[in-house]
Symmetry: C2
Subunit: 205 residues, 2 copies
Amino acid sequence: MPRARLTPQSVTEAGAALIDEIGFENISMGLLAERLGVKTPALYKHVTSQADLAHRIAVLAMAEFADAIRDAIQGRAGSDALAAGAQAMRTYVNEHPGRYAAGNAARPSGPDDPLVPALERVVASWAAMLRGYRLDPVQEIHALRMLRSALHGFSTLEAAGGFQMDASVDDSFTWMINFLDHGLRAATSSALAPTSTATSPAGGH
Amino acid sequence: MPRARLTPQSVTEAGAALIDEIGFENISMGLLAERLGVKTPALYKHVTSQADLAHRIAVLAMAEFADAIRDAIQGRAGSDALAAGAQAMRTYVNEHPGRYAAGNAARPSGPDDPLVPALERVVASWAAMLRGYRLDPVQEIHALRMLRSALHGFSTLEAAGGFQMDASVDDSFTWMINFLDHGLRAATSSALAPTSTATSPAGGH
DNA sequence: ATCTGTAGGTTAATCGCGTTAACCAGCTGC
DNA sequence: GCAGCTGGTTAACGCGATTAACCTACAGAT
């Protein structure tokens, strides 16, 4: 019987493909082994555990994801960059829901975890894009978090089938991007300062 | 030996408390049984399966959540209502991360699933709040989805420890709310029509 | 009070899945 | 042509969900 010639990489890639098909929470070692034409324990020669597999998929996913966003933003600025980056994100999440879920579930295991640079590259791309809006440095981080929140929230809700009402999800997405773009442009000069804490922000500066 | 006098409700409530402590994915029938001073199989006299338990927790969570948001918005309008509702949501998610995760993971099993009205009440509260901004009806649904996306994204990222940078998460949240408020007020009269991009349909009304 | 039926608990057994142990066959380098 | 690691296989273990078989505390009728 010839050997299957698996490697950690090929196992991870097959796992990534499978997780996109059946969903993050439905993956199992048995299913993946079957897909690879091998018995379950064989996988343990390449990954140490199911958790390890999930983590490798997460790293793969976040690296791909970072690339996708970087490429989309390349050569664009301002509104264009925002729209392109956001669309790239949404496309990625819709095409690879399982990978993306794995990427979100993963926590860096330490400072030398390859997940860390991948995540940093994602943040760096968004930050670069935001720089085009010339925000106050203090606000930039708030804007970055808002952007992540909005895009992540939209993508995951959509992937989970959370938008039930019969209005075009595409339209909603472009509307949101447009909304964010307008707001960011408005924030460029004017101080959209958060007034301290408690339950209520009064407006103004 | 006296009996434990469990009910589906008491089991669900204990499960909800436990899931907030140990996390959505870490719950197990054994742990919950131990917490209730009972052997594992006893739980099956009150809930039919672990999935059933999770679903009941989800219903409980979304009902509480809907109440919290309704109460927060009560008697307020516009910016105040937005800020109060958003803060109520964030507080709920932070205090009950497991419940909230259960609520999000759950899918209505059918039209008479009690999860449906609970979710509808949540949407209704946000919609009522948005009405204060007097948006174009077409835009209202987009705004609703954006709001859900932003708040859900922020809350879940925060609960998952996703905001690593050392800037106040509180400040970021109020900044975001403020940003959304400004944008919504701007959208009140002016047509914030989505300008067509590559992937998407042209806007207009 | 007693008797009885059943809801609500218990212990024992099953099953699936992750994981490990023990074993064995190809391929690589001498 | 053979020694030995590498990558597979089968068998076995452990644990968590679930089910079966059993048993008893309590409610209601007599």
